[in-house]
Subunit: 307 residues, 2 copies
């Protein structure tokens, strides 16, 4: 669904993930004057599908007398996306050129795709989160410390002087989804209820003794069979075991640095809670529209970057 | 498919797992005189299906003039199986009564289901492996030490004086299957090739620094994208990370005890290799027909147990 803005867009920002496409019409001050979304995520598209999917949402925003720049972040720039946007190697600013330039049929748009970030040693990559980090830094340009972005694959980025120095990816969210819905443990955790004490105890125990993590998994099943462990306690303990293992793995990052946990909803709250349990200097920051803020910020230096 | 024995069975042993049913006709010395199998595993059956599935394989072995005892081990005794065979609490001999007795229509069979084992603290259960352990001990009645049974859920049992003192279950096999076929890591490990050095390095590294396990997972994906990590190295490193985490979790068991790794095929060889890399006193024992050996052994004291 697309709503026509009062005036044409000066520029357009697009957050193009695996599952969804969200677009924002910006005026020449970077203010959002209209937005739209569809389910045409990268996971459903082949390269020729991208331009029509984009135009379906933004065509009403385009001034017929000029070319409107469209800045895209996210998985549209992956190898399996529209066109690959090569990674930029850290240390570097979170968002910057060279942007990838897919060929488009329409004479009314120029499309620029934000590169992801890479780290050579230890090997790591991100694509999409770099723009959220830029969005966080747009609101806190002097921030020094660690930015944690929980998700299917959580990212921990060390930021100094406006640059991402290094980062770390953990598959905690994907492991939780696999174990809670695909493994034998799924039998013990139907429903959606949670148990805060079970979560906290599992976080603390796993950070102190990460070696016990592996042995603790099947115990969830056994306690379900032998001791009627509740689904809420089972699910929250699994969550605490996995997030505790993440906190142990990321300890060198959060231990001596101010840490911002960026996100909305349950997952970000659990990460914030875990860090506070462990005595970290952590703060929960709303992740609403951080990708948009990062894209809007990127537009400011856009003439230079794309020259 | 069932082949009629030369004479009727004195007794029948059945290994009834989640996926398959295997049955063996024994003479009065416990020797196998015929065997048969079907895909009627516990996962495909409701309680009324069990007796027909069993009779379909064994009816030709039954003496029409007497009642033949059928001893069953495995998941047929689970809560979702034929009839629940209550767990026996360790410490105890691996196999013993009271056996569960499902009601049967046929006047020619009496069915006895072997109980699984349970441990109250830390909570743990096994069902099926106890009979394999009995089979190992039938061939080595004086064994003292640890029996390791790799599988989807591997079991480590501490055995002294012919009894299982305690045991530990790890979900390593299930985690490997989920991560290598369902997670983002699947893209980096098509095919079946392996890399022994990558396996060994990952085992050693994870046992020394188990905290690095979580951070090492996504690195497989990143090295695939940035450094062309081969599928063989990726798969073997994932296997080494997971088995290394298991070895770290089970260290208190294998460190000071003789350890028998029971099984056939690649998985048992990997466990044996990991233990030897770590300097454990480990021996690989063929797991062929261990459940049968355990059932045959159980029949020896059968008059007493079922009275």
């Amino acid at each position: 669904m697309s709503v026509a803005p009062v005036s044409f867009a000066a520029s357009i920002a697009a957050d193009w993930g695996t599952s969804n496409l969200r677009v924002f019409a910006l005026d020449d001050t970077g203010k959002v004057i209209a937005e739209a979304a569809s389910d045409k995520g990268m996971g459903k598209l082949t390269p020729p599908d991208y331009e029509p999917a984009l135009l379906a949402l933004i065509s009403g925003w385009l001034d017929p007398n000029r070319v409107t720049p469209v800045l895209v972040c996210g998985m549209a720039g992956a190898r399996q996306g529209w066109i690959e946007a090569a990674y930029r190697a850290v240390p570097c600013t979170p968002v910057g050129g060279p942007f990838a330039r897919p060929k488009v049929e329409s004479p009314l748009i120029d499309v620029f795709i934000v590169p992801g970030l890479s780290q050579a040693e230890p090997a790591d990559v991100m694509r999409g989160e770099e723009t959220q980090i830029a969005g966080v830094l747009a609101g806190r340009p002097d921030f020094e410390g660690v930015i944690c972005l929980p998700g299917t694959h959580s990212k921990w980025a060390v930021v100094h002087g406006g640059r991402v120095e290094r980062f770390l990816t953990l598959m905690t969210g994907e492991l939780f989804a696999l174990l809670s819905t695909q493994s034998v443990l799924r039998h013990g955790m139907p429903g959606e209820e949670t148990d805060e004490d079970a979560f906290a105890a599992a976080v603390r125990k796993t950070v102190v003794a990460p070696t016990d993590f592996a042995a603790s998994l099947f115990r969830l099943r056994a306690e379900g069979l032998l001791a009627n462990l509740s689904p809420a306690a089972a699910r929250s303990r699994l969550s605490g075991l996995l997030i505790g293992l993440e906190m142990a793995a990321a300890r060198a990052l959060w231990q001596d640095e101010k840490t911002l946990v960026v996100g909305t909803g349950m997952l970000a709250r659990l990460y914030g809670r875990a860090l506070m349990l462990l005595g970290a200097d952590a703060e929960l920051v709303s992740g609403e529209a951080m990708a948009l803020a990062g894209l809007a910020e990127a537009f400011k230096g856009f003439g230079k970057e794309t020259a």
